[in-house]
């Protein structure tokens, strides 16, 4: 005997399938305020921040090409560290340094606005489109992304070479390439960001690490943070930096 599906059943199945497909296609909305998750909160869920704090330098340095290592060793904490004088720190330092951000999700785009807005800035991730052919080199580069199920895959190129990979002042070139995979873990309690950096002119091999962020409760607001809050302090830094840069130039002559 042939099975005959009733029209009602067919319609129901049709709607059910459409609903499942719609759910599969609708990207998750992560809009909210996030802060770096402390290891003590991650541990019970079986996660941990790789190379937390300054330890990230130890993870990066073995990957540096000899010229990059020599360049790093020749830097001066005050003269060269951009964030000290309220210039941008660049995108590579944000996962650890700018420990908080607002994630704003719009159709076709995700905007990340960092707490240290003067030094980490704003990042715009354009979804489902390629990079422009020749992006203008910038501190935060040009980011495109796509959802692969519940994982957001982000690709960033188009950097200037003025920022450092991290606080040890490890250099990168305009060829640097940042690859990130973001997903929610521990029943959505944390966003896991898997970060990989490659730069064929500065690194012998790519390096990778994980960072975890915790979504703050709905209604939590990111406080204002002004880098040049105390102009006397940062002007002093800036003048010292200029003095050191000038004396270095004199030595080179």
């Amino acid at each position: 005997m042939r099975n005959v599906l009733s029209p009602t059943l067919v319609v129901s199945l049709g709607f059910g399938l459409a609903s499942v497909l719609a759910q599969a296609q609708a990207p998750p909305d992560w809009t909210g305020y996030y802060t770096l998750a402390p290891n003590r909160e991650l541990a019970p869920a079986g996660f941990k921040q790789d190379a937390p704090g300054e330890q990230l330098n130890d993870l990066i340095i073995p990957h540096l090409q000899p010229w990059a290592k020599a360049r790093m060793e020749a830097t001066d904490g005050i003269a060269d560290d951009t964030g000290q004088v309220c210039l941008p720190d660049g995108i590579f330092r944000y996962p650890s340094m700018a420990g908080r951000f607002v994630w704003l999700q719009e159709p076709g785009r995700i905007v990340m606005a960092f707490g240290n807005i003067n030094t980490a800035g704003v990042r715009r991730i354009y979804l489902d489109r390629p990079h422009p052919k020749n992006p203008i080199p910038s501190w935060n580069g040009h980011s495109v992304g796509r959802w692969d199920g519940n994982t957001l895959i982000v690709d960033t190129v188009g950097f200037n070479d003025k920022s450092w990979l991290f606080g040890g002042m490890e250099p990168h070139t305009e060829e640097a390439h940042l690859m990130e995979r973001a997903r929610r873990v521990a029943n959505g309690a944390f966003v896991e960001l898997n970060i990989t950096v490659e730069d064929r002119h500065a690194l012998n091999s790519p390096y990778s690490y994980n960072r975890y962020y915790k979504k703050q409760p709905d209604g939590a607001e990111m406080p204002e943070d002004v880098c040049a809050e105390d102009p006397d302090t940062w002007k002093q830094f800036r003048n010292e930096a200029l003095k050191k840069q000038q004396s270095r130039l004199r030595q080179l002559k």
């Binding site: 941008p88 607002v102 704003l104 999700q105 905007v111 807005i117 704003v122 935060n140 040049a228 102009p231």
Partner: protein, 217 residues
């Protein structure tokens, strides 16, 4: 009874004659003061034209113009920032807030305009103040209080007090290609009377880039 219910149901429509709130998302840039748009629309007023109370005017004459927040890469506050020619803003709209991002981040920073709450009872003073927004038809009305006293009202050095209160009315004009932006400042300790200016912001089809403030050494 049915009539009363109908009238009550219709009331929200009366309150919002323009119907649904418009989608303001996008990048906009203030037009130059010399430009006239179709219909004779033009920028009107400027922060330099505020009228100060005598004591505030006396204080302004003693201000060292070298310490202008603009010249040392500090935030200049919405009242000055929104009036400048060629100010580029990006409006990002999510359910609970509209975020105004300035291309010139050092001077403009990021303004969060909260749509689902009033001002907190105890306000922490900040450079940009606490902004809440509501829709009146197709006009976004932004109310901002809670400023610190570090920003200036204009480049002539006019100071303001922590009683500064700003109201901004923003709505799309010319088929959404421009925003009409009206700013009103009230500060009973500094301003002789409330002051308003109008700016037009052109919608741009562009991405916002990094813009880094470097002060003069």
């Amino acid at each position: 009874m049915r009539l009363i219910v109908s009238i009550l149901c219709a009331l929200p429509m009366v309150a919002q004659p323009g119907g649904q709130a418009p989608d303001l998302r996008g990048v906009y840039q203030s037009i130059p003061d010399r430009m006239t748009l179709p219909g004779g629309l033009k920028n009107v007023g400027a922060p330099a034209a505020i009228e100060l109370l005598p004591e505030a005017a006396r204080q302004t004459r003693n201000v060292d113009l070298k310490s202008d927040p603009w010249k040392i890469c500090q935030p200049v506050g919405p009242f000055r920032m929104m009036a400048k020619e060629h100010t580029k803003i990006e409006l990002v709209q999510v359910s609970a807030m509209i975020v105004m991002l300035f291309e010139d981040l050092s001077h403009g920073m990021m303004r969060n305009i909260y749509l689902k709450r009033g001002h907190p009872a105890r306000l922490e003073e900040t450079w940009l103040g606490d902004s809440v927004g509501r829709w009146e038809g197709d006009t976004l009305v932004v109310d901002t209080v809670g400023f610190n006293d570090k920003t200036w009202l204009n480049e002539e050095g006019a100071q303001h007090s922590d009683a500064l209160h700003l109201t901004e009315r923003i709505h799309p004009v010319l088929r959404g290609q421009f925003l009409e932006y009206r700013m009103t400042a009230v500060d009973p300790r500094v301003l002789a009377k409330p002051y308003s200016y109008t700016r037009y912001y052109r919608r741009l089809d562009t991405e916002v880039m990094d813009d880094v403030c470097q002060d003069e050494p």
